[in-house]
Amino acid sequence: MHPKAIDWIIMGAYFAFVLGIGAALKRSMRTSTDFFLSGRSMPAWIAGLAFISANLGAQEVIGMAASGAKYGMATSQFYWVGAIPAMVFLGVFMMPFYYGSRARSVPEYLKLRFDEKTRGLNAITFAVMTVFSSGISLYALALLLRLLLGWDFNTSVALSALIVLVYIFLGGLTSAIYNEVLQFFLIVFGFAPLVLIGLKDVGGWQGLVAGLHTVAQTRGYAPNAWLSTWGVMGSPRDNPMGIDWFSMAMGLGFVLSFGYWCTDFLVVQRALAADSMDSARRTPLIAAVPKMLFPFLVILPGMIAIAATVHGGASGLTLPRKADGQLNYNMVVPLMLGHYFPNGLLGLGLTALMASFMTGMAGNVTAFNTVSTYDIYQAYIRRDASDAHYLTVGRLATVVGIALSVAAAYVTNRFSNIMDLLQLLFAFVNAPLFATFLLGMFWKRASGHGAFAGLLAGTAAAAVHHGLTLPVGRTPGIKGGWIAVMHLYPSQMAQNFWTAIYAFTVCLLVTIAVSLATRPRPEQELVGLVYSLTPREHTSERRWYRRPALLGACVLAAAVVLNVMFW
């Protein structure tokens, strides 16, 4: 890959705009609400594009392309099953409580609904988690820049951290959201030509289908294994993911996806920045529309690359192999950028990748500064200070968050197994969360002690399940089985899905049991926080496409159509 002046000019123009947006927004940051929640003034379409973009970090883009090559069309289940239903549920059913309660963060909702200790547990684990995720983004960006442009690790980390720091410090969440919208369009315009040229290379859709039939057959699967979703999930043996339809639907489609999209403050924060209840409810629904189509942008390149590698394409695109002889799936995107894009377009593609790394990091930093200011500093350190004080604290928290991310990036670089361990711990903490929110929002009897006990029990259940099971062909340790190996799963994905299912179930049962044994909060305190005690949210919108429930139904129907089309 040989960038020329034109590519550097394109990248430079993007960075100038990013910093310019931050500078232009500086004057509008007067209160802490401006800084942390964009003054609750975002139109639904901006909040919606930011909602989806905050999740579309570069690891996602590179990882989805890799999975597209490894597993084929079934990867789109992470979108059509693992995202859309949860996003619709968030918009139609949950947003009235998040936005309507005026909570400024997800942990704050837990404080209003349950009690201080439940909020504290959630706030602290979330803050630690965001810092590490942001550090991993930074680390991955530095690795990629070293690979593609030959940049030094230290320079890459310092430069990207500095740019993110400047624009968030100046423009707060608004800056982050505006850059996420910009990144959304960069990814779309930077990746669409990759798909178009790639498809032409393998002989169009027909050629791709023929190529993927060869891929499936050479690996001992039915010819349509790389092109089907549900159709090849009758048994884990029939598909390269090693997944059956039940664990796909329950583990990914229910527990993991609802746990992420409906409770993770990183995405929910974008909806809280919306300018009205209707806009907040429409935010995830608007986001669901491009989300549904993203598989064609981010998964298809992987499918093209594997078809070209195994079956052959016109231009001889071939995936490189790792030292152990396995195909290096993570190289799909960098390889295709370098192979198909002439100088000029190459600059655009690289800019899109860098933009998604930086917004991935910025999303974590804005969520971190909000939670650490409102839910940690204001809750436990200084309760009644002036708003200006919290604005200053928020800016300081931004600096601290970025400094910690840089530290995390270096830790990852030195000890990658520490990072694997941490991510495993976070998975345990996150797995049961949705049960707590579900009971909190829809069962008025659920109590604070119940929620807290349920969360701890759910996390413990996740850890124990992981400790007792192992994916086939792995040795006991970080992959599981560190207590004893009682059950073997056909794949690591199956193990992850079942860990989540157990954690959710245990959290649900323990929360119910402990709640029944403890005193509930008086009903008048729960108005606006629990479904049965809150007046229904009636939209004032007449136009059908602006009515949340109807829009949600249309989005779901479209997702069903996609599932059937690629059955």
Partner: protein
């Protein structure tokens, strides 16, 4: 919020579009080898420029309304 997001998006994409298209036009066939004989810089640059101009137009119309 002080700044209509469509203005920077429109300006950036118009700029990138014009840069790409001009580069594609000047480079001609030498560039196209890589992308299967299509002068993708030229065509994609035009797509970007049209998108950028549309964003600027929307922002300009919204400003008229206030």
């Amino acid at each position: 919020m002080g700044l209509d997001i469509r203005v920077p998006i429109g300006a950036l994409f118009s700029l990138l579009g014009v840069l790409l298209a001009a580069y594609g036009l000047a480079g001609g066939h030498a560039l196209a080898n890589r992308s299967l004989g299509i002068n993708i810089d030229l065509w994609w640059g035009l797509v970007l420029a049209v998108f950028g101009a549309a964003m600027l137009l929307l922002a300009w119309r919204a400003r008229g309304r206030h």
